[in-house]
């Protein structure tokens, strides 16, 4: 693995009701999406619609193309329900990773930003299951694509 450094941004925003969900039997849902940039408002709206429609416990985004992710950005993606986030900055307009999670469903004890990935470590509140989640954006090699 590459160099290890502590992730920059962790925060919580909003206490409004809302958000979405589906079938009662679903105990956990994780979304992973390479969004190819979050700079445009249309893209952020699309993410928010997906979150509202699917009601994930955790959302992993790749290629944010953002050097900074703040609470306002995360609220524009997640909506008003309580959430936390952790991100790895893009290098210029390249790469960038972001993980958001539902504060009522997921308890995160630590986050770590390493080369090409963010790792979060915690537990699912309902089941008490401890977990590690790794959000990866691997370097692009056109030959392997």
């Amino acid at each position: 693995m590459g160099t290890v450094r502590v992730c920059k941004g962790v925060g919580m925003v909003g206490l409004f009701s809302g958000g979405g969900g589906e079938g009662s039997g679903v105990v956990m849902k994780i979304i992973s999406w390479n969004v190819r940039g979050l700079g445009r408002a249309e893209k952020r709206k699309e993410v928010k619609n997906l979150v509202g429609e699917k009601g994930p416990s955790i959302l992993c985004l790749q290629e944010t193309k953002l050097e900074v992710c703040d609470e306002a950005l995360c609220a524009s993606l997640w909506g008003g329900t309580p959430h936390f986030f952790s991100y790895r900055p893009s290098v210029g307009a390249s790469g960038g990773l972001l993980i958001l999670w539902d504060a009522s469903l997921v308890e995160v004890w630590s986050t770590e930003s390493i080369e090409h990935a963010i790792i979060i470590h915690g537990q699912f509140v309902q089941s008490n299951d401890e977990f590690y989640l790794v959000n990866v954006y691997a370097p692009c090699d056109n030959g392997a694509k």
Binding site: I30, N34, Q62, S127, D129, V136, K145
Partner: protein, 123 residues
């Protein structure tokens, strides 16, 4: 690379790996003469005993804008422990929208699998 620190842990790895596992997972106008570029990824999955779930919903997860190439670059990989603790995981690809990649959703439906063994042990 072996994920020693995660040995025996409940681990989920997701994202854009920018590589496929098999030649069938990509379609392109370009001709590929060998599969050696896929070996490191397969080795990583095999050495770490990761579970590569089948993809529901569509065959590919990335589509080049002009339609000349498509691949399954995105996936969820689960450690053995994760798949034992949460045996009912499914992985579904959804519509791309404005991105050229599809969002993937991993979900566990408890109704399909009945009571969880860990809960029985806690009684």
């Amino acid at each position: 690379m072996i994920l020693q620190r995660f040995s025996g842990k409940n681990v989920c790895i997701c994202g854009d790996f920018n590589v496929v596992r098999y030649v069938e997972e990509r379609r392109s106008l370009r001709v590929y003469s060998n599969v050696s570029d896929l070996e490191p990824f397969n080795k990583f999955i095999d050495e770490n005993l990761l579970v590569d779930l089948p993809l529901c919903g569509r065959r590919f997860t990335w589509y080049k804008g002009d339609g000349s190439s498509m691949s399954r670059l995105n996936r969820f990989l689960l450690s053995e422990d994760w798949s034992l603790v949460s045996p009912g995981c499914t992985q579904v690809a959804h519509l791309r929208g404005l991105s050229d990649h599809c969002p993937l959703i991993l979900s566990v439906n408890e109704d399909d699998w009945g009571p969880r063994p860990s809960r029985m042990l806690k009684c």
